[in-house]
């Protein structure tokens, strides 16, 4: 799985103000009490106990800081390693503070508090978290305050961030992929049934108007010179040309159902409980699957576009090349559920003859309905089930009953897709495809390359 990259927005702290802590007054009071008591009882060993306390307080009053500097929080441009996101907290140079108190909080992680030393030349502190999630998310909030000598003076707390980080999905290496029923164009990486330029040999036939002169097969022409009724031997009377199959490219439309992002824990589906950072949601799996397929198709010279069912906006038109891959990956990363899903009355219009790949959990009927409509319209449709492997152990009896109802409805939809000619596959967290699973998350993951090769051959037999 290749590492992704990040796009981040820096966070700045607002100005801070110095203030004494309650310990200053308490230490001064204790010091005075000790000195007075020592003088009254003529006990220098008692009086001298108050001296270091008063010296500390006096030192803090004399050397107390009077200005603050701003810190900056930025996210790293690239992942430290796959699954590890970093951010940099740049502490200011020439800070009057003796130490910095930070509290870093990140979704899905236990927060950490730290007291950091300052340096005259400034300092960069690296913060990092582990996650397999993707998309555009607010991460790395830092509560920040400065401390003076002996921590007797501190600034007020200020929150820096959170920094919005866009984690692009990684890709899984794939090999053979299914193609649409009908290829398009006159050039491309695939052989097509029509005659044209650039493909395998179709036949050797008589020269007709429109044939290119450089296609003339002189060997066959010479061999057949003078043959035929009424022909003079040794005289060229007819020309023969080599005709080849045309090449064409495939148009693939990735249809992402970003209306929901459910995690493996079914008990979190009905509330706002956050999914753990080490567990992928359905949307993370969909992004990974779509990015992997897009990369493979684009590397093969085909054209890929994208439609998002969760947003009423123009789709990404089908195109080829490396820039198209970056465009698609970025659009995948920023796709996320936005409030209540907007019901679509009209089926999105997609290029004719395109292979349509739908990435959805099929927990509701819209994605399945669209897939069936596209299939009836003549498209080859592939339904990728991106529901993660579920954790059903912590369910209450009521939740278990509700889950069973939802699972049965979902299974019925996927079986209906199978009956309607839509090929269904399962994409689990390991990147496996399993075309035999009808919505079940307990099936063993078959190697993706084996399954995809089978799907690719299926088209040829048709």
């Amino acid at each position: 799985m290749s590492s992704g990259s990040l796009a981040a927005e820096p966070g700045h702290a607002s100005p801070l103000r110095w203030q004494s802590t309650p310990a200053v007054t308490a230490m001064a009071g204790a010091g005075l009490v000790a000195i007075v008591l020592g003088l009254l009882t003529r006990r220098p060993d008692v009086a001298v106990i108050g001296v270091p306390l008063l010296i500390s307080v006096t030192w803090n009053w004399v050397r107390h800081p009077d200005r603050t500097e701003l810190a900056q929080l930025t996210a790293a441009d690239r992942l430290e390693r796959p699954g590890r996101v970093s951010a940099y907290l740049d502490l200011p140079a020439h800070s009057q503070a003796e130490s910095i108190l930070v509290r870093v909080h990140v979704p899905g992680h236990r927060r950490v508090e730290a007291v950091l030393a300052t340096r005259a030349s400034g300092r960069r502190v690296t913060l990092s978290m582990s996650t397999i999630r993707t998309g555009r998310r607010p991460l790395f909030g830092v509560d920040y305050r400065e401390a003076g000598p002996d921590h007797l003076m501190r600034t007020g707390g200020v929150t820096i961030g959170p920094v919005r980080v866009t984690i692009l999905p990684g890709v899984v290496t794939l090999q053979s992929l299914p193609l649409p029923f009908r290829l398009q164009g006159m050039t491309g990486p695939h052989s097509w049934r029509r005659t044209g330029d650039g493909g395998d040999l179709h036949d050797v036939n008589l020269f007709t108007p429109g044939d290119r002169l450089r296609r003339i097969d002189w060997r066959v022409t010479a061999r057949r010179a003078g043959q035929g009724q009424g022909a003079n031997p040794g005289v060229l009377s007819q020309l023969y040309v080599r005709r080849t199959f045309a090449t064409a490219d495939a148009t693939v439309m990735l249809v992402l159902d970003s209306r929901d992002a459910v995690g493996p824990d079914v008990s979190t589906w009905g509330d706002a409980t956050a999914v753990r950072e080490d567990e992928p949601t359905s949307l993370d799996l969909a992004r990974q699957a779509a990015a992997s397929l897009a990369q493979r198709y684009l590397d093969g010279g085909d054209r890929v576009g994208m439609e998002d069912l969760g947003r009423m906006r123009r789709p990404v038109p089908a195109a080829g090349g490396r820039s198209q891959f970056h465009r698609l990956v970025h659009r995948l990363a920023v796709s996320e559920p936005e409030g209540e899903p907007t019901p679509r009355q009209r089926v999105p219009r997609l290029p004719s003859g395109a292979l349509i790949i739908v990435f959805s959990t099929f927990l509701d009927g819209d994605a399945a309905r669209f897939a069936q409509i596209w299939r009836r319209a003549g498209h080859r449709v592939l339904a990728v089930d991106v529901l993660p492997r579920l954790n059903l152990r912590s369910l209450t009896p009521r939740l278990w009953t509700a889950y069973r109802l939802v699972a049965m409805e979902r299974g019925d939809r996927i079986r209906a897709l199978d009956r309607g000619g839509v090929e269904t596959v399962v994409w689990d967290a390991a990147g496996g495809f399993d075309p035999t699973a009808a919505g079940g998350s307990d099936s063993s993951a078959t190697a993706p390359s084996v399954v995809l090769t089978g799907l690719a051959r299926k088209r040829q037999r048709r």
């Binding site: 204790a30 006990r43 270091p52 927060r111 921590h151 954790n391 912590s394």
Partner: protein, 216 residues
């Protein structure tokens, strides 16, 4: 929740009633466990922690333990060796360790000073020097961890300026204490007095000479 029905009868009825009550309590416990997610996989797998690149660090609970040790030691130096006194000292120290902010350490210092003034026989011993350093250290540690959680990480480099300041102040105050005791006529019973004097002079020189060198 409705109470289980009790039909007047013999021991079997009483047994059923007891079982029903136990089941009701068990149901409440089960709902509480699920609500707190105590039995879920999410709780059994603790959340990961954010990593911070902070060099050599010391957990804040170690500093609080140090406060406990220093406070308990200072307390035992000023109270009579009885169980009740030790118990009171332990409670005071634990309270200060749990709530190190604000007036806790300073209040402990004040109480120790009062006990020292009223309780000892006026003889200046090595315990006086230990008390002098220990109480000062206690207030500094309290100010350090006052607003930190038990699991906070303290970079050792960040406390070096405070440590250096503590040593410098003690190097000046300890000889001052001895001088004060000598001038007031107290009996000074410290066998290592010359060693302490030498340490004080050395520490003072270690502070002064770099300042002189840097000013040239």
């Amino acid at each position: 929740m409705s109470r289980p029905a009790v039909v007047p009868g013999g021991p079997s009825t009483l047994r059923r009633w007891i079982k029903a009550r136990i089941a009701a309590v068990g149901g409440r416990v089960d709902r509480l466990v699920r609500a707190l997610r105590l039995g879920s996989a999410a709780w059994q797998r603790p959340l990961p922690r954010v990593r911070i690149d902070a060099g050599v660090v010391l957990p804040a609970w170690v500093v609080r333990l140090a406060m406990l040790a220093v406070g308990f030691g200072c307390g035992l130096l000023v109270v009579p060796p009885t169980f009740f006194a030790g118990f009171v000292v332990a409670v005071a120290v634990l309270t200060m360790v749990v709530r190190p902010g604000g007036a806790g350490p300073a209040g402990f210092v004040t109480a120790a000073v009062v006990m020292l003034a009223l309780g000892s026989d006026g003889e200046f011993a090595a315990t006086g020097l230990l008390l002098l350093a220990g109480l000062h250290l206690l207030t500094l540690l309290g100010a350090l961890v006052a607003e930190l959680s038990w699991g906070a990480l303290i970079e050792l480099r960040s406390i070096w300026p405070s440590a250096r300041r503590f040593l410098i102040i003690q190097a000046g105050v300890q000889p001052l204490a001895l001088l004060g005791a000598w001038l007031s006529g107290q009996a000074v019973t410290i066998a290592v007095l010359p060693v302490l004097a030498g340490f004080g002079v050395t520490a003072f020189a270690a502070w002064l000479l770099p300042q002189v060198a840097s000013s040239r």
